[in-house]
Amino acid sequence: MLSGNVWQPTTALVRAALASVTFAVVAVVTGRADLLVLAVPLLVHAVAAVVRRPGAVPVASSRLGTTSVREGEGTTLHVLLAGAEDLENALLALTPHRWLATLPPHGVVAATSEGSDVALELPLAPLRWGRRRIGDGVVAGTSPWAGYRWGPVPLPAHTLTALPQPAPYDSRATSPHPIGLVGTHPARRRGDGSELESIRPFQPGDRLRRVQWRVSLRTGELHVTSTVAEEDASVLLLLDSGVELGASGGVHGESSTLDVAVRAAGAVAEHYLVRGDRVGLRVLGSTGRNVLPTAAGRRHLRRVLDTLAGVVPGENRDLDLDRMRFRVPAGTIVLVFSPMLSQAAVVATTTLASRGLDVVVVDCLPDDVRLGQDDARTALAWRMRRLEREALLARVRRAGIPVVQWRGRGTLDEVLRRLSRRSTAPSVAR
């Protein structure tokens, strides 16, 4: 909360007072009555403005309608001027920020005072995911007849968390290793599920409602329908924030590699958590809160999106992978969201795969990534970088880790089905 400074005469009052007095004096000195006529409107304005001289100083306070929104969605900055009896017009001018859209676009709104308090409202929307300090600007007021001005008084900034807008994603593939108690993925063991496993002879303990009467009548022996159990899956999202390539155009523009990774991770997390599965998150290259243990539920989805919103590119380039403990339970699918441009991401991926976990690399390098500068030197450097990337990807594939490019819906279907087939196939030795 801020209390404003003082009321000061406006240039309009100074102009009206000085010009009218000067004209009147010159009219007397030169004996020109016409100058007196010219002076009268200005004099009336000056007197009216001085008579309505304000006394009380307003107190300004501001708040955001909501402190957390999805990128591209809007909220409102509310500014209240209390004790504004002497105010005729109030003005709010917001400091422009790169990833912030306001309505009107220049971020300046005014309101005419109707009572003792004046409320100013400015709709705004973050254009990119992230945690930002916004809402700073100035507020000012003018007394009746524009005689005196209060302010401009600075307004404090507020933290707005712009949660990533999940990319369109859906998957029909089941988890290769469902390991929980209840869920939607067909497990390897028999149980009370909805997916048919087999029709087999009746055994003591089988429920009567499972009796398959047609087969029993045909064979003359009691048969029952057996189903597979349905369990939930555990998914670990590993996000590589060490490198960001490409210029981000916000939620409605082009995407950088980190934009793709964050939005894809958010979409996958939402998909699994809504279905009742458990999801964990690990951010590679973050110094802040970079580990979110595996959990389920909609509140956990909020935690995942909140952690994703806090991702800062290239925050920690000196990762010590030897000291890193992933603590991944057996049966967890690890989805690595990375443009695969750093050694650290490759080492983390191969380390997890060597522990027997199902690891899938989701390539987050868009086909049309824009590097900003189109000079020959940048193009050559980028070509060399792409060759390095191809070598890293080849290394990952040699380790038996599937790599899929993020393309939204169905990105993981094929690779998850392949992993399911691999896990159910009889294996002799490894």
């Binding site: 406006t10 240039t11 309009a12 100074v14 102009r15 009206a16 000085l18 010009a19 000067t22 004209f23 009147a24 010159v26 009219a27 007397v28 030169t30 004996g31 020109r32 009555a33 016409d34 100058l35 007196l36 006529v37 010219l38 009268v40 409107p41 200005l42 004099l43 009336v44 304005h45 000056a46 007197v47 009216a48 403005a49 001085v50 008579v51 309505r52 005729e88 017009n89 003005l91 001018a93 009107p104 220049h106 971020g107 300046v108 005014a110 309101a111 005419t112 000012a140 003018t142 009746p144 007849w145 524009a146």
Partner: protein, 182 residues
Amino acid sequence: MSGPAPGVLDRLSLASAQQRVLRAGVLGASLLLLVLPVAAGGSLTWFFTVPALVLAVLAALLPESNIPLALVLWLGVFWLRSMPDRVDAWTLVAAVDLAVLHVACTAASYGPPGLVLDRGLLSRWARRLLLCSVAAALTWAASEVIAFLDLPPSRLALALALVAVLGWAGLLGVRLARADAD
């Protein structure tokens, strides 16, 4: 962009349509006052006209500064030098025009160039402009009556008239301010 001139041009490009109209009003009112002596049979002097034009352009670009004050004072000097010593209908037109210029500058200086003032405030200012113009018209009518009486020229009479006019205008201002508050 940096420096005062590009800054001013930036502000102009960012200005809302309403602000552009107000600034055009400042320029238009200044130009009207500059051509009034031609219509009223007075004489134009480049020495007074050119600086007035420059000030008018600057005042339209920077209405929140003290340039409009310099413009109003210079226009007063211009009027004094260009027009003969008489009170006629052109004097009333000039007074209303000067009030329009002053109010346009005032409305344009409420905030940054992108600001759009609400209709309520604009209509309030239109009402105020009308009241100020009525006050000028009453003063002009009083001077016409005195001119009709053809009294001998007297500095004392003019000073007394000045006191009367100033007192009346002050009283009117107080009444208007209170009426506005109610």
